[in-house]
Structure formats: C-alpha cells, structure tokens
C-alpha cells in the first residue's frame, strides 16, 4: 500500500550507514541493520510491497545483495514466502508497510501458522511517538497477529533491530516452525546505532525447542510396537520438517509396518513403496481408512490428528493403542488420547528407537489390507470409460505420467482439485507437493508456486488450481511475468466452487447457492499478461497440452474445462466415523447433461 503523500525522509538514512568505528562495531541505521541481518541469516530473496512506513527500509535495500520480488498484493507476499519455505526448508521472508499492508498479510500468516511453516514477516510501523494515536496507516499488527504467529515483536529503536531479527529467525525455524512477525517503527528504521552482530545474540530464556522423551517412554513404545499385530504408521508433515524420510523408511521396513499419509505428509514416504498405503482421512482411500479403523496400534509420526484425518473421534481407531511422536507437547492428547507420547524431534526419536526395533513378520496383516484395495480399484475413475467427459482425475493422472520422472513441484490450491491431486499424483519425494492444509486457504497456489520457483529455479513447477481459487490471487500473474519465471498453470475449470458444490450436493439437497461461477476467458487473461495459454476440453488433448507447456520457454496457462458436477470420492462426511464413507457409485452414474 503506497502512500504518495508521505513526507520524504531527511536523507540521513542511507548515507551514514556502515561507518567503521574503533571498536569494530559499525554505526548503521536500523534500516541498514535490517538488511545486513537478513543477509547474515542467509536470506537471498524477499517478497514485498513498499509503502510509507517501510520506506526507510526500501531506501536502504539498494546497498543489499538481497533480491526483492515486487508482489501485487501483500497476501501474495506471505504465500510466496510460505511457498519458498516449503520448497526449500529455509525461512521465507515477506515485507509490507504498516496498516493495510500489514493486515493484508493476515491470511498468509495464518496459513503458515496452521501448517507450521517458517516465515518472517517484516512490517513498517508509524513512528514510535505516534503509536496509539490512530495515525495514518496505523494498525496494531502485533495485536492483530498475536494468535496467528508463533511469536511477534514490536521494534521501536534501531538498537533492537539486530537482536530481534536474529531471534525471529531462530524462533521461526527451530522446534515446531512457524511464522514470526517483526513490526519496526519508522524511527527505528531511520535511527542510527552501533551494529554488532555477535553482541546481538538471541536472548530467549523461556524458549525450549529441544525436548526429548524419557528413557522409560522409549521402552513403553517399543513394547507396544513389538506386541502389536496390526500396526499402522500415520505419516505427517513433521517427517518432512524434521528431515526424517530415511528414518521413517528404515523403521517401516524393519518393523514391516504399512504407512498411511496425511495430506501434508504426501512425499514424506515414497508413493511407490510397497508399504505405502496412500492418503488417509476425509478424502483418503477407503482401504486406508478401514486399515486405520482395524489397527491395533497407531504410530503417529509428526501429525496432529486433525479432524479431517480422524473423522468422529468417538469411534476413531477404537481398538488401537496410540504412540505419538511429536515435537509440540501441546499436541499430546489434544484430539486423541494417546498411550505413549514421545515428545521430541521425530528424526532424533526414530534414531533412538531404530536399533531396538525387531523385525516381525506381519504378512497376514499386509495381505488383509491388500484385499481391501480390490473394491476401490473397481470404482476408480481411471478404470471407467470417460464417455466423452474430461474428468479432473484424468488431467491429474496424465500430468503425473508426463512429469513423474522430472524434478517436479506441484503447488495446489484448495478444494476438489486439491483432493484429486492428492489422490492421483503419486509423490515420491518430500517437498514435491505444496498445499495449504490446516487453514485451507483458497488463492494460495499461484503465489506459493512463485515462491517455490524462486527457491528452486531448476524445478519444474506446476500450479494446479481451481477456477475459483485462481481468481482470488491471479493478480500475481504480473509478478510471475515481472520475475520471468517459467511456471505452468493448470486451471481445473468446472465453472463451480466445486468442493462447496459437492457439500451442497450431499448435505444441502443440491441447492447450489452461490457456487456457479461466471468466469473470464482465462486464455485471454493470460494473453493480457503476455503468458501463452491453451484451452483443453478432451482427454486426448491433455498430454499434448502438458508437453507443449513443458517445451515452451516461458510460463504457460492451460485452461482444463472439466466435468462440471464431478465429485471427490470417497468422502467421510464431517462428524462421521472414519470407516463410514460415501463411495463412488459403481458403475459410474452420469451426473450432468452434455
């Protein structure tokens, strides 16, 4: 949010930076210290939008090696920082001005909070003497973001900048990661002080990110594991955060335990691995949910028993003991009462457990799971004739076939297409799927993909997005073009807010209130930005379109016009038991007229 009326600063800010003093520390402005500290934290790129209260920082940016990506809306900046962090594992940084600039970040911050993504948001604030006076573009953003940040700071003096930035990065990336907001007043950016990196060490006496379980808890866990006949590993996002892919695999293979994944866990365990069951939960495969319900032991690895994963808690895995390996003690017994909690970093806990895990033959259990799969295969849309319709599942399946050998990152939005992506794109590697899980933020995909592409320029980045969510943040097409990024956008266009329509179909008597969309011509829209585009409405055209996009030098937008009233199956209705699924009718029933 730019403010052209703001009085230019006195010009003192930029020139006085980096004057060497006799002590080895340097006299610098708060603004210069900010960029210096970001560089020292390893930041190469920030996503931001300038404005009055952050102008001193932008003025000092020219002395920094950091690349600034100009976004078109501050929400986009936070999603880009988020996508950057998810793709790279590094802290993403977003910058905005005070007031509306800061409040526009709220959705992106909440998205990062719910999915434990390390981002640092820097906001400008009005001068410290104006705080509380309802000054122009003043918002109490530390108050606003208090419940949706891991921690936040208000910095009112240049001398506090260095320590605060160091603490912000430390808090964001350590323990259970999360967003940290640093609100810096204009005078703190303009003011000058001695800069001494070493002296500005974090001082967080109450912060304990490094917990580990007690020895007897390990023993209790091992006893449960060795005594169980029907165990299942529930693999969550924590595996990727902790970098425990190899350890989880070793554990599953040694103990012969099948692995079910959460949405954010996809990629944490290879889809092609014989012990991989697939995704669990509301739109998980039927055999996965049945397996969980029949298990006698659940091993929850870095997941938090979200309601989309458990269904009704009253009859969730009724015969199973539960072991919960989780870094956040506040997650223990939150939704599901567990028998043995192991609070600590997943990778470290597994390394501790692994030498003691006995190899047990569980072929009987694995065979019974295989039998469950049969029924689902019959109902799978891939095995049914398309009768001239283009189904989203076909698009995703073909996209997967064409891009599976590459270094591909798929970034999805939220809704039906997200669930079809999770079902039909088989993720082999961590960080190859980027999606908003906990908050379910529509509009996430395009900006998050920009962040992912900036983080991983060598990767082939595909945006899979619905026609509804795309229009929430499509202004970032301009950012994509300005940064010259080769990103492919696959709009799964069914002319509806599809997931809401599906709920209306099932639970609101097909009253499609406010879900049909009148869309722009997406191909022309892309053209206006100088982005090449295609429109596809038959199955045979899917693969050629994907290949054309891959061969094209620049970005490409493909408008996939898919079956309008298609439905994601299976589905566990909100509040229903996990095994009580709405299944795809078999054989397929046509739901719409041509």
């Amino acid at each position: 949010m730019t403010d052209p009326k703001i009085t230019p600063t006195t010009g003192k800010t930029k020139t006085e930076s980096k004057t060497e003093s006799t002590t080895g520390s340097k006299a610098m402005t708060g603004a210069s210290i900010l960029w210096e500290c970001l560089e020292r934290e390893g930041v190469k790129v920030v996503f931001g939008y300038p404005g009055g209260a952050i102008l001193p920082a932008y003025d000092a940016l020219k002395h920094s090696k950091i690349h600034h990506v100009l976004v078109r809306h501050e929400q986009g900046a936070t999603h880009m920082a988020d996508g950057y962090a998810r793709a790279s594992g590094q802290v993403g940084v977003a910058v905005a001005t005070s007031g509306p600039g800061a409040t526009n970040m709220v959705t992106g911050i909440a998205t990062a909070m719910l999915d434990s993504i390390p981002i640092v948001c820097i906001t400008g604030q009005v001068g410290s003497k104006l705080i509380g006076s309802d000054a122009f573009q003043e918002t109490d953003i530390t108050g606003v973001t208090l419940p949706i940040t891991k921690h936040n700071y208000l910095v009112t003096h240049a001398s506090e900048v260095a320590r605060t930035i160091r603490e912000a990065f430390y808090v964001a990336r350590s323990g259970r990661p999360g967003p940290v907001l640093v609100d810096i007043t204009k005078d703190a950016q303009q003011g000058t002080c001695e800069f001494d990196w070493e002296a500005a060490k974090p001082q967080l006496p109450g912060y304990r990110p490094d917990l580990s379980p007690a020895p007897e808890e390990y023993e209790q866990a091992l006893e449960l594991i060795h005594n169980s006949k029907r165990p299942v590993i529930l693999a969550g996002h924590g595996i990727i955060v902790s970098g425990a892919m190899r350890e989880v695999r070793d554990f599953a293979e040694r103990a012969g335990i099948p692995v079910a994944l959460t949405l954010l866990g996809l990629g944490a365990f290879p889809a092609s691995h014989p012990l991989n069951l697939g995704m669990m939960g509301m739109h998980g495969e039927a055999w996965v949910n049945h397996t969980i319900q029949e298990a006698d032991l659940l091993l929850a690895f870095g997941m938090r028993f979200d309601d989309r994963v458990t269904g009704n808690l009253k009859n969730y895995a009724p015969n199973a003991k539960k072991i919960h390996i989780e870094i956040d003690p506040a997650e223990i017994n939150k939704n599901v009462k567990v028998d043995v909690p192991l609070v600590g970093d997943l990778r470290e806990v597994l390394l501790e457990l692994l030498p003691h895990v006995e190899s047990i033959d569980r072929s009987e259990w694995l065979d019974s799971i295989d039998k469950l799969k049969g029924d689902s295969a019959v109902r799978d849309i891939q095995n049914l004739p398309d009768s001239g319709h283009l189904y989203a599942a076909h698009v995703i399946n073909d996209l997967w076939h064409q891009t599976r050998d590459g270094n591909t990152i798929v970034v999805t939005d939220v809704g039906q297409h997200q669930m079809w992506e999770a079902q039909y794109y088989k993720h082999e590697h961590p960080r190859s799927l980027i999606t908003s899980g906990g908050l379910g933020t529509m509009g996430f995909a395009l900006p998050a993909a920009i962040g992912a592409k900036v983080a991983c320029p060598e990767a082939e980045v595909w945006v899979v997005v619905g026609d509804g969510g795309f229009q929430m943040t499509m202004c970032e097409l301009a950012t994509l073009v300005q940064e010259n990024l080769k990103i492919h956008i696959a709009i799964i266009n069914n002319g509806f807010l599809g997931m809401v329509r599906q709920w209306q179909e099932f639970f609101y008597d097909r009253n499609y209130a406010a879900t049909p969309l009148l869309n722009p011509d997406f191909a022309k829209l892309a053209e206006a930005y100088g982005i090449r585009s295609m429109t596809v409405s038959t199955r045979s055209a899917v693969v050629p379109a994907v290949e054309a996009a891959r061969l094209h030098k620049g970005p490409m937008l493909i408008n996939f016009k898919v079956e309008q009233e298609d439905t994601v199956y299976p589905m566990v209705a909100a509040g229903a038991a996990l095994h009580d699924m709405i299944r795809r009718p078999s054989p397929i029933v046509e739901t719409a007229e041509d």
Binding site: L146, P147, L204, G206, N333
Partner: protein, 183 residues
C-alpha cells in the same frame, strides 16, 4: 476443578496480553489472574486459576510453555501451598449493627480500615474459603461494595521456584521432575 498455576514470565510489555490471549484462544475461562513483580526485576510472576480437568490442565501447561516469554510454569493444585486472597468489603453498619459486624470481623481476624456513619470497610486476607465465609455472615447486614485481588500462591517448604526462573537454569527447570510435558 479449579487448577492453580504459578507462571514466571519475562517482565516485558505485552506478556500479560499473550498469556490472557492464550486462554481466550484455547477457550479456557480464567477464574482469577494476578500478576506482580518478583525478587528479580526481569521476572514477573502470575498466579492463574482455571477450571479444567486433568488433561486440560496438562495442555494449558504445555501451551503456556509454548509462549516464548514464559520462563516456568507449575501446577500447584495438588501441592502444599500458601494461597492468599485479599478482599475489601464495605458493609452497611448503622449504630445498632456496628458492634455485631466488628465482632464478626474479629472472629475472622479481619481489620477495619475505614469507618463512616453508615458503613464499615473491612480488609481480610486469607484463603478463598475464609473470605467466602466472612462474606456469608456479613451478607445479612448488607454488603455495599466488595473487591477481591484474586489469589497469589507460593509452594510451602524451602524450595525456591524463583531460582529456576532464570536464563541460566530454565533448561534444568525443563528437566525437573515437577515439570512434565508428556503423559
């Protein structure tokens, strides 16, 4: 049941808001919250009472620890502790009733701190039950105004909790048997 937490926090602006916001955010209702200085200028101490079952109390403790500015949390509900509340009670006491009210106050070892022709103001310190008891017997005379501080609490015995609430020793505090994260 009512749980009593002692919470040591960094003495910084906004920390009270963070703690109070946590209870609101997680839908726990604070029964009483007091905050004040400690023997260390950089540390403040809160006494918080909350209605919660055992599991909820565990989670409240874990959530409090997640706040970056919280140094040490202890649930002293089931431990021997000195618990004190202070109340100021203005009770209607005209000429006839005055001696009765004074007698009752002395039975409860309360002090009269203000006198007017129509009323007496009584200061009482003690556990919540004791104060509730005095209020009960004064009610027939007419309680005109009453204010309570909310409780402050300290564990009995020689062990100092304050020693754990420092930058150097919080790691020990975390490993301490009294501070349990799990189960």
């Amino acid at each position: 049941m009512l749980n009593t937490f002692m919470v040591y926090v960094e003495n910084k602006p906004g920390v009270l808001t963070r703690v109070a916001s946590l209870f609101r955010r997680r839908a726990f209702n604070i029964d009483s919250l007091t905050v004040g200085r400690t023997e260390k200028p950089e540390v403040s101490r809160m006494t918080i009472t909350v209605d919660a079952d055992r599991d909820q109390a565990r989670r409240i403790e874990a959530h409090l620890y997640k706040l970056v500015n919280v140094l040490l949390v202890e649930n002293i509900t089931h431990q021997p502790a000195i618990v004190r509340d202070l109340a100021l009670i203005r009770v209607a006491a005209t000429h006839d009733a005055r001696s009765h009210v004074l007698e009752l106050a002395s039975v409860f070892r309360a002090r009269v701190v203000d006198v007017s022709p129509e009323s007496l103001t009584i200061e009482i310190t003690g556990g919540e039950d004791k104060i509730d008891g005095l209020l009960e017997v004064l009610r027939p005379y007419g309680i005109l105004e009453m204010v309570r501080t909310g409780i402050v609490a300290m564990r009995r015995g020689s062990k100092s909790n304050g020693a754990a609430a420092t930058a150097e020793s919080t790691a020990q505090g975390a490993a301490n048997d009294d501070v349990s994260y799990s189960v």
